[in-house]
Symmetry: C2
Subunit: 444 residues, 2 copies
């Protein structure tokens, strides 16, 4: 048993579980909710899981249900969750590399190439400083706007700007307003800092630091960095254009805006909602075609080792390169003059297909549980929870306790990662000393 | 240009296209439809594509619209389509192996291991005889039953039994009855021969022949044969049990049947509808949870080089083994004491993800075209067309010409195979004489 817990691949799921349970206990304390409300265990567990996994799905109205103390706890849990994710990889490298020889590929990966083991402390410092600087900048701009142009007191402006900066930079979706940031969809001074902060937080620090260090020579970036940076850029641009095309004339969303406001709201919605889950445009009023678009973007998610979830941008685009190589009949998969290891390909495949299977299974289960919930609504909400995005089409708040437990499990699995979780349970720690003969079976 | 057409990987899509257009011309002749009907180009194209791809989707009521001559043409097109698929692989081996050195992996695959090139004629003969024997047996049993117990004349019994034997053995879904085979869902003498014939036709001849030759020693089967045979068996058993569990008390489907009839109808529905598309139970009356089940089974489809479509059973289970190896941290993917080549893994991944992308894109397109078609109905019909299954929830017959063209394209792409089609367009015929340096990017 002790041996089971000491295996490093098992530290991540256990660490998250402990943090979630501590957060749950905290949120169940009486001062956390507005009188006369008493958070049930499920409500507290859901909110704690949602905050620590930086999802932002809510079972209760965040501003109406929680007291200021509760909201501070939610903000702190979000920040801790985000930092935990960002620094987790670095710490795991340190632990793993000392103890393990072979089976650490799952968690160590390419980071070791970029940060020598002696530099872990510097890496943690870098991450902390970057987070602090970004969130402070975002808070200053947004609070200034709220103070000067919205008649907020300075204190209230700082609180609101700070809360939403923490949420958006960590790609979480809690909001102090019952309708998210819809009231600011045409205000660039609020929307742009939060959207840009969300994009930066969702790129992932390995990619972000390498891009910052080598910004003059993008050609020299590692494959993972190229995939994450250019891929995220492509998804935001293509997503915004598709959203504009679909919603251009929809009077319930952006149809009555001027052209500049349409562009701003579409960009903000894609940048913030894609991985963050805060909406500028009501999700329930979207055209039918916007749902597959958002479901696809949520499922892909953000950068590796970032606060965004999903299968990750690098996974998605790596698989696109694999497919292209196979179609072209090329023996190697090459990305920007580098051959991609088959181990990386297999890992990308596993993450993606496990994710598809989990989303499909959970959607079916949710439909069975709720008796005739429309397929699309179920798929949207399940994908949102699994990718820790936190967008909702109103399903979450209407579910039973069993439905909430399903979403809690999905946020947890989505955050830990299905591959890490599966390995934590089933990792084979024995070595096989022989190889079987190879065979090339017919498939397809 | 001439060089373009001579490349063998391009023969398959072109051959299918020519066959479809010839069938279309034939079906547009006046005697094919019942007076006063005149098949439009789209109707004829749709029906020809559906028959040659052995799908069975229909834009018009098959028994009411087409004359006996038209129905004979549909049966012949189905049989030719089925034989074309079954023998195509063998013929391609012959052509390809003479002309090409390197880039034939896509089409040749493991068959060469099992049939020496000199044996192609014997293989074709084997296939032809097997098809003839199976369909004759099915026709004899079913026509005997119809003649003796349903008051059919002998001629009508033979025609109906022969038509449905051709359809089910080739895993196609046209029927002489407006409600498919629903009227026979409780008659084992009709249901069982057709269901078993459909399963045999859907296993694929490479697997079938090896299993028949080595039936005493399943341990010695090739990996592809093991995956196809055991996988198909598992899908039928698990599918039947899941269908029973979901529909047990649904009075619109099997709820009012006795236990034995429930088992028979569930088995027949899964065996026939999964890849064949003929329904024993009305698809529109199913419980909500049955749709994800059927969508999943249709998407997986049948055996490689069989008349069933989908990504193929072997692809699906191979990927399951890949995922399991990755979760366990095993360096090799092993199936029954054989190591699976990474080329096979990459091919399975490409087929699956291309298929997911095509189904997702086409579903979105269909929703956009139809203005508020429910997501689940669109996904069901698109999956059915792409996997050449031919089940319908009533969407196909109600679509516009544009919608029909979309389904025609999907049946064509699904039959030819997205990988073969993609390669036909983009295959790189130059050789690269160097390899790039390897890199192991972070994904997931
Ligand atoms: K989120
Ligand atoms: K079919």
């Amino acid at each position: 048993m002790r041996r089971f817990f000491r295996h490093p691949v098992r530290l991540v799921p256990i660490g998250f579980l402990v943090a979630i349970l501590l957060g749950t206990g905290l949120l169940m304390l009486p001062p956390m909710a507005v009188e006369p409300r008493h958070p049930s265990f499920i409500t507290a567990l859901f909110t704690s899981t949602s905050a620590i996994s930086v999802s932002g799905l809510a079972v209760v109205s965040t501003p109406d249900y929680w007291s200021t103390a509760g909201l501070v706890v939610i903000a702190v849990l979000t920040q801790l969750g985000g930092l935990g994710i960002l620094t987790g990889a670095a710490l795991v490298i340190l632990t793993v590399s000392r103890r393990l020889g072979l089976h650490n590929r799952l968690l160590v990966q390419a980071e070791t190439l970029e940060y020598g083991l002696g530099n872990i402390r510097r890496l943690l410092l870098h991450i902390g400083v970057t987070v602090l600087v970004c969130e402070t900048l975002m808070t200053i701009i947004v609070s200034g706007r709220l103070w000067l142009d919205y008649d907020y007191s300075l204190g209230r402006a700082l609180w609101s700007a700070g809360f939403h900066s923490v949420q958006t930079f960590n790609n979480s979706g809690f909001s102090l307003y019952p309708d998210g940031l819809r009231g600011f969809s045409r205000d660039p001074w609020v929307t742009l800092p939060l959207a840009l902060g969300g994009i930066v937080g969702g790129l992932g620090f390995p990619a972000l630091f390498e891009a910052a260090r080598q910004w003059r020579r993008p050609v020299r970036w590692a494959v993972a960095t190229k995939l994450s940076i250019w891929g995220s850029l492509a998804l935001v641009v293509v997503g915004t254009m598709a959203f504009l095309a679909i919603e251009w004339a929809n009077r319930w969303t952006i149809g009555q805006y001027g052209v500049a406001d349409k562009l701003l709201a579409a960009f903000g919605q894609i940048a913030l909602a894609r991985t963050g889950g805060i909406e500028l445009v009501p999700a329930t009023a979207l055209r039918e075609e916007s749902y597959p678009l958002l479901i696809g973007l949520m499922f892909i998610g953000g950068g590796s080792a970032s606060t965004a979830g999903g299968i990750k941008v690098s996974t998605f685009f790596l698989l696109a390169f694999v497919i292209w190589a196979e179609i072209r009949g090329e023996p190697d998969v090459t990305v920007g003059h580098r051959r991609v290891a088959t181990a990386s390909q297999r890992q990308a495949l596993t993450v993606t297909l496990l994710s598809v299977a989990i989303v499909a299974g959970a959607t079916t289960l949710l439909i069975a549980m709720t008796n005739h919930l429309p397929f699309q609504a179920a798929l949207f909400e399940i994908t949102s929870a699994f990718s820790t995005t936190g967008l909702t089409v109103g399903v979450t708040s209407a579910l039973s306790d069993a439905g909430h437990l399903l979403l809690i499990a999905l946020m947890y699995i989505g955050r830990v990662g299905p591959l890490t979780l599966g390995s934590a349970i089933a990792l084979n720690t024995r070595h096989r000393l022989y190889r079987y003969a190879e065979e090339q079976p017919i498939v397809g």
